[in-house]
Amino acid sequence: MVFSPRWSRSRIHLRPKEEIVAGKCRDKRFLGRSFYILSAAVLILLATGCATPKVQTADPQLLFKSDLLSFIQDGVTTREEAILRLGIPSAQIEGEKILMYQLRADQEGKWHLVAPFWNANTGLRAWREGTCSLVLVFGGDGVLLKHSLVTAQ
């Protein structure tokens, strides 16, 4: 299409209407895609800032603040007492020498025992966020020798 105004000798070439419409659509698509890519990039940048929780032993005082675990005392608590209060352990090693329990704290900081989960594909333990591991080591006489609460922070 050619447009020739009377006051000018120059001839202006205009693109066909279909071409202009198609161009606008391309621009819209480009803008849309850019928006998605930019959003994804921002999200990824934000996610990269998330730290990975690290396995570490918790402050021993944490146990005494809890109703469920305040009975635990090295040299005092017996294996029988631990099992009567906490039930079947989620895992045990070296017979009944080392017993382990899984715990989670609720919003008020109160500890609850939780059942262990497995990843069906690998057979490895699957942990829900915030789950801690209580380890109790008993001596030959069945009295607690050492204990620790391992958290991920």
């Binding site: 990269t48 929780p53 080392i98 080591v137």
Partner: protein
């Protein structure tokens, strides 16, 4: 193991295939976020480990419950996965994406005396956790028993006791002690295994397990019902001793042309002894069977529902049993 490898290979193939026609972007990032496991264990955390010196006990006290225990406590494994990048796949009208996981394994082997023999921390994007583990567990070594099959873990403990009925008929609280409940099926299977979900031709598609051992669940249900009737659980000098045999406690599935149902069954023999008397124990048998009908196959909730219904049924039978009530009345 195979599933994980196939999954990763398919993801890569999908990226290559769609990348040719649309847009596939892989964005590597520093390691961040936790995708699997409880938390990461860094090289610096292993500084205290010394071969032939560090004990199994020290390791567990520092790192907590292992993710896997193999070969009679000989090998302990800790696992975690972090995000090491993202993949994005975009077409004209749809897009997909997700994190690229990097699996880490921290494996420790102990000798006969429980002292550290060797340890290794490995991490890889391309090799799955299972494949890394296979290098450490030679053929013939014990493998994780749950691998390759879905597992439904249920806790069918009744949510609330049923009305006390005849259990509270005398109005006098009884001091009771809960003794051992022998589970007949526990010799062949772990104490938490209760059955399989089976598809056509008896193909096992999932294991059903309880979060606590079966005797523990039964004892808890009986205790809760007795306490709801006003009786008191004691550890010594009881008025009555309760023990029992668990002949059946499990689930199965039945498949017909129109439905695929979860079936739960329970068969318990309760024995009530009166200490200090020469009386024979009262032996009562409680049985229950419940079915949950489904079209596409029972879910974890269906198995949970049938086993919970069985335990509640047992509680109801106890509360309406005049013979058991008479023993509680000390008649």
């Amino acid at each position: 193991m195979l599933g994980s490898r196939i999954h990763r290979s398919l993801l890569l193939l999908a990226c290559i295939f769609f990348g040719a026609f649309a847009g596939c972007v892989i964005i590597p990032t520093p390691e961040h976020a936790l995708l699997e496991g409880r938390g990461k264990i860094e090289e610096s955390d292993m500084a205290f480990l010394e071969k032939a010196k560090t004990t199994r006990e020290e390791v567990v006290l520092r790192f907590g419950e292992p993710d896997l225990i193999l070969d009679h406590d000989r090998i302990l494994v800790y696992h975690w996965a972090v995000s090491h990048g993202y993949w994005l796949l975009g077409g004209y009208y749809a897009a997909a994406g997700g994190p690229i996981p990097k699996d880490y394994l921290f494996m420790l082997e102990f000798d006969e005396e429980g002292l550290l023999k060797r340890f290794e921390r490995t991490g890889s994007i391309w090799t799955s956790a299972q494949a890394q583990l296979d290098k450490w567990t030679p053929p013939g070594a014990e493998r994780p028993s749950h691998a390759g099959r879905e597992a439904f873990v249920i806790d069918p403990a009744p949510q609330a006791p049923v009305p006390p009925g005849l259990l509270a008929a005398s109005g006098r609280p009884v001091r009771f002690r809960i003794g051992e409940f022998h589970h007949a099926g526990a010799d062949a299977n772990p104490a938490t295994f209760v059955g399989h979900k089976k598809a056509a031709f008896g193909v096992i598609v999932a294991d059903v397990r309880t979060s606590r051992s079966v005797p523990d669940l039964v004892r808890s249900a009986i205790t809760a019902q007795m306490e709801a009737a006003g009786h008191r659980l004691v550890d010594r000098d009881p008025d009555i001793n309760l023990t029992g045999d668990i002949t059946a406690f499990g689930v199965t599935t039945t498949l017909s042309l129109s439905s695929w149902d979860a079936v739960g069954s329970l068969d318990i023999t309760l024995k009530a002894y009166l200490p200090g008397t020469n009386l024979d124990p009262l032996v009562r048998r409680y049985q229950a069977r419940h079915v949950s009908k489904t079209v596409f196959g029972p879910s974890r909730e269906d198995f949970l529902q049938v086993m919970r219904a069985c335990l509640e049924d047992m509680q109801r039978q106890m509360t309406s049993d005049p013979e058991f009530s008479r023993v509680l009345d000390m008649e």
